[in-house]
């Protein structure tokens, strides 16, 4: 790619933290580093991945509000985790975490366990139990 062809399609993906270094060729055929604010194509595939995550999260939210799943299911999905990864963070068996995804078991969890979950999700235990919060939360874009 030529230096002057480097796309600058800024979709604020990097939040101003960096510009992508791209190795490009200048007029004399010499390699130089150019900096890109973004590329339409790259923005589209990143957006696609986040849309996919958001759609899954929206489905889980409905189930949590309908009382079919516990808030842990929502925050697990929100943190792009699956049962296996969450179990590793919790240092629990997978089947134990799976049990906690059911409201019936969730309601019986000890304060200590709730705190551990809340810490992993970077929220407080009160927030973890708050269905209103889940209902009103704006999903990531």
């Amino acid at each position: 790619m030529k230096a002057k062809e480097v796309p600058q399609d800024d979709a604020n993906m990097m939040r101003g933290k960096w510009k992508d270094p791209i190795y490009t060729v200048d007029e004399n055929g010499k390699y130089t580093t150019s900096y890109s604010l973004g590329w339409e194509v790259k923005n589209a595939v990143m957006q696609q991945a986040w849309d996919n995550i958001r759609e899954k999260l929206e489905e889980i939210r409905k189930k949590v509000l309908a009382g079919e799943l516990s808030p842990i299911a929502y925050y697990m999905e929100k943190n792009i985790m699956d049962v296996s990864l969450l179990a590793k963070y919790m240092e629990l068996w997978k089947w134990t975490v799976k049990k906690h995804l059911k409201p019936k078991h969730f309601n019986r969890l000890s304060q200590e366990t709730l705190e551990k979950y809340a810490d992993i999700f970077n929220i407080t235990t009160d927030e973890l139990k708050d269905l209103e919060k889940i209902k009103n939360e704006k999903l990531p874009e």
């Binding site: 993906m13 960096w18 270094p21 390699y31 696609q48 590793k88």
Partner: protein, 336 residues
Amino acid sequence: MNVKIDFEHRQFAHCENGVVSNLLRYYGIELSEPMIFGIGSGLFFSHMPFLKVDGIPVTSFRPLPGVIFSRISKRLGVDFEKRRYRNSPSKAMSDLDKNLEKGIPTGMLVGVYHLSYFPEPYRFHFNAHNIVVYGKEGDSYLISDPIMENHSELTSKELKRVRYAKGTFAPKGHMYWVKKIPEKIDIPGAVVKGIKHTCKDMLTIPVPLFGAKGIRYMAGKVRHYPDKLTPKKAALFTGQIVRAQEEIGTGGAGFRFMYAAFLQEAAGVLKKDELNKRSSEMTTIGDMWREFAIVTGRIVKNRNKVDESYDHAANLLLKIYEEERDFYKRLRDTID
């Protein structure tokens, strides 16, 4: 504790190259990112449909994390001290502090998801990210993250958290630092070894998923995505290939442009003009990968219906396969 090592932070495309380059420069060895990448044989290709992340097949334009690092260390003769603290996070942190007090800039592996200074759209559970810690002021660690334009900071709680991220490639507190720099470094010899290894990896692995053959294999998969998957999933699978190719740290076109830059630099180091020709051929291959990305972009935008773009994308990949296969053969002959 207040320590600040006089460590120069520079931004790079890829974290592993960047950390190695920044660390070596601190000890007086000046090597560009393409040189680190080429000597460390960082160019690769694999497509593994059975290995899935979030239900999507894994495509990679690089070898496993840590490979560039260990090859560089071997080929330049630089000794690194490596430590892993499986079950003792507090020791992992106190040993880091001891290093800083001794004035040793220390590299480490971290998970990206909880990196507070990282922009949200890039925060996935990827655990093989490299950073250098070069100081501590109060409870804040001074971080040189090669992806970032400027230096960064993390509290000790945040740093501990990312050093103990869980999942694939869990870092387990791994850290490393330069122990010994050899008196003489044979750069031309290292360059030749690096190139030969890349040609070998891209041409001779007897499994169709790896090297140039992997591209042909993936072309076949992409062609049949629309028959086998829902339109949405087919677009997601194809989009993921382009994410691996362009998203982060590749310097464009899945490292192909970075490799072309390396070959140009190698032409000077080895005094082989023929390598300049190889460099511009590699640039052309990189441009073809970008073309594939553009077709994929169209697929992703029309993701709810299937059109003939999949055939077009697969044909492009087949062409790239043929080009790359012939290229590494020519490169091998150039170096011999």
